[in-house]
Every structure is written in C-alpha cells, then in structure tokens.
C-alpha cells in the first residue's frame, strides 16, 4: 500500500477495526449479563431452599439450558472476533470468497438487526478463490452493508449473492451502492474492485478480478 493510500486507509481501517471489536464485545457483554442473571436466579432459589422452599428441578434445568445457550452464543462471537482479528495478519492472501463474505455478513448481523434489517447470505457460490487483502475487503463489504441497510427494501431484508463471471468474482447486494468517498475510492483502488448498480437501485455489485498479477503474488 502506498503512503498516500495509507494516510486515508490507515486511520479509517483502525476506526473500522475498533467499531467491529466494540460491536462484538457488546454481544459478548449481553451474553455475560444473561449468564449473570441466571446465576443470580439460581442463587435466589438456593437461598429460598435454605429457608425451606422446595427446589423445582424444572426451573433449575431451564436455568442451566439458558446458561449453556449463552455460553455457546458467546463462544460463536469470540470465534468471529478471533477470525476478524486474524484478518490483518497478511496484507494479501488467497481467500475463499464465499467464506469471507459469510464472515462479513456475520460481523454485520447484529448492527443490521439493530436497524431492523435481516441480512441474508442468499447464494454464495463456493470454490471462488481470490488473492486479496481480507481485512480491506471486509471493510468494503461492511461499508456497503451499512449503506444498504440505511435504505432497506420494503420487507426489511438485504440479500447477498456471490458468483463467478468470466474473469471476475461478483458480490451482489440488494439496495443502492455506497456514496462516493475518499475511503471508498482508496479501498476500491487497493482491491482493484469496482462497484456498479442497477438503474432502479434494487441491486448493486462489487466486481473483483480473478486474475492474479505478478506484483500481487510477490507482495
């Protein structure tokens, strides 16, 4: 990445990294808060039992099930966070596009839900391998998700499709594409990607070349 591009993408990338970490830590906090309340409820029941009230096994099972559910949920969030954190390990590497897009969708699941939008990775074609900067591609995808979810479809859903065309990979989304900005321009340049949209604003597409040139292989 050249120096001029880094001046734009560096601080924006850090902000993006911070925002994703803050969103995910919020999800973990929610699970911890629920586990804390279930633990407190169990403690209440034990205190009541010490005072002679019978312990109800059905209630205790309900609590243990809720705790197990939230441990599983928090663990999934930690896995998401870990994968995302490792996406900065290499400035360029080979990625399976369907896997990366699904991960980006998962990162944006709760922010979308907060806006009342359901983000659906509808059809993600497998076997499309591209050499790219996985962190920057996720940043680009989340900028697109953010923009598209601000103007959701009437049924409040947002679909994402990944497919291969001759020489390119296409990531299509419902809604209109993001507004031009210096960050978007730099991201598209760095990823060698382009965005085109339908005239009626129902779908837009990120187009990424499949061809790997020598400069990128050695980078």
């Amino acid at each position: 990445m050249n120096e001029i591009r880094w001046k734009t993408l560096g601080p924006e990338g850090l902000r993006f990294f911070g925002k994703v970490c803050a969103d995910l830590s919020h999800e973990i906090k929610n699970s911890l808060a629920t586990i804390n309340e279930q633990n407190g409820l169990l403690d209440d029941f034990l205190t009541m039992a010490e005072q002679g009230a019978p312990l109800d096994p059905v209630r205790i099972h309900k609590i243990t099930r809720a705790v197990a559910g939230h441990v599983e949920r928090a663990n999934k969030v930690v896995n998401k966070l870990n994968r995302f954190a490792h996406s900065v390990d290499h400035s360029r590497r080979q990625v399976e596009l369907d896997v990366l897009v699904r991960q980006a969708c998962e990162l944006y699941e709760r922010p979308a839900a907060i806006k009342g939008v359901v983000l659906t990775p509808e059809s993600l074609q497998q076997g499309i391998n591209i050499r790219t900067n996985p962190f920057l591609l996720q940043q680009l995808l989340l900028i697109c998700f953010e923009h598209a979810s601000a103007r959701p479809s009437p049924d409040s859903t947002m679909s994402v499709v990944v497919e291969r065309t001759p020489g390119h990979a296409l990531i299509s989304m419902t809604g209109s594409g993001p507004d031009a900005s210096p960050v978007l321009d730099e991201l598209l340049d760095e990823l060698e990607a382009g965005i085109t949209g339908d005239a009626d604003g129902t779908w837009f597409r990120i187009r990424i070349p499949l061809k790997v040139d020598a400069e990128h292989v050695s980078a």
């Binding site: 803050a22 830590s25 919020h26 906090k29 929610n30 911890l32 808060a33 629920t34 586990i35 804390n36 309340e37 279930q38 407190g40 409820l41 209440d44 009541m48 609590i63 809720a66 559910g69 939230h70 839900a113 907060i114 806006k115 009342g116």
Partner: protein, 143 residues
Amino acid sequence: MSKEKVLLVDDEMDFLDALSERLRNRDVEVTTATNGSRALELIRDESYDAIILDMMMPGMDGLETLKAIKADRPELQIILLTGHASVDKGIEAMKSGARDFIEKPADIKALMDKIHDARDKKMLIVEKKSEERIKEILEAHGW
C-alpha cells in the same frame, strides 16, 4: 410502604425473564417490554417508580426511548443499562434526563439501591407538583 413498580425494557428475552424474576423475588412489581415503542405505550397507562432501559435495542434505541419518555412523562426516573460504559453516550443520556446508569452485567444490590433512589426522587417530584397545584388552587380562589 407499597411495592416499588418497575418497568424493565430490554430486547434480550432470557435477560429480561431472569432479571424480572430476581426483582420480583425482592418484592418489586415488574412489568417488561422488549422494545422502546411498547415501553412508551405502557407509560401512558401506568406510572412506574423506575424504568430500567437497555441502551442498545432494535428499532427505537435506549436514548431515543429515554427522550420520548421524558417528553411525555418528565417525572419518570430512568436507569439506563448499558453493555458499554461509553463516556459520550453517558453524557448524552444524563443530559437527556437519565437518573442513573448501570453497566451490564448488573449487580443486583447496586440495581436495587438505584431503584430505591429513583423512587425517592420520583416521590419528591410528585409531592412538589402536588404542593404547586394546591398553591395554584388556593391563589386562584384567593384563600
């Protein structure tokens, strides 16, 4: 003294169920809502000693709900529950009329203390309002 009445607003059902049961175990009368719009409907028909409100909810978030409640029923005391102790959000919430803040995971004793404080504050406001109303009536009749 009558039971404290609390409205608990959070979109996490498991959290809402468990915390409301714990508050009931502590002799608090609890009503629950899973979103800000429902909370606004409830406060129009009922008065509460404290409203415990999650900051981050789908649709109308905690801050928007807080502002709408304060516009409608300024005497109601709101305790915000937050996953993040963000200074900016905290300042905005206090400026918008929040009584207090509690960070998730919440400590039940600290929460109960805040509910008692909120009730005391609300009683003071209601008493002051009543005194002012009585004074207005007395003055209007020249008594």
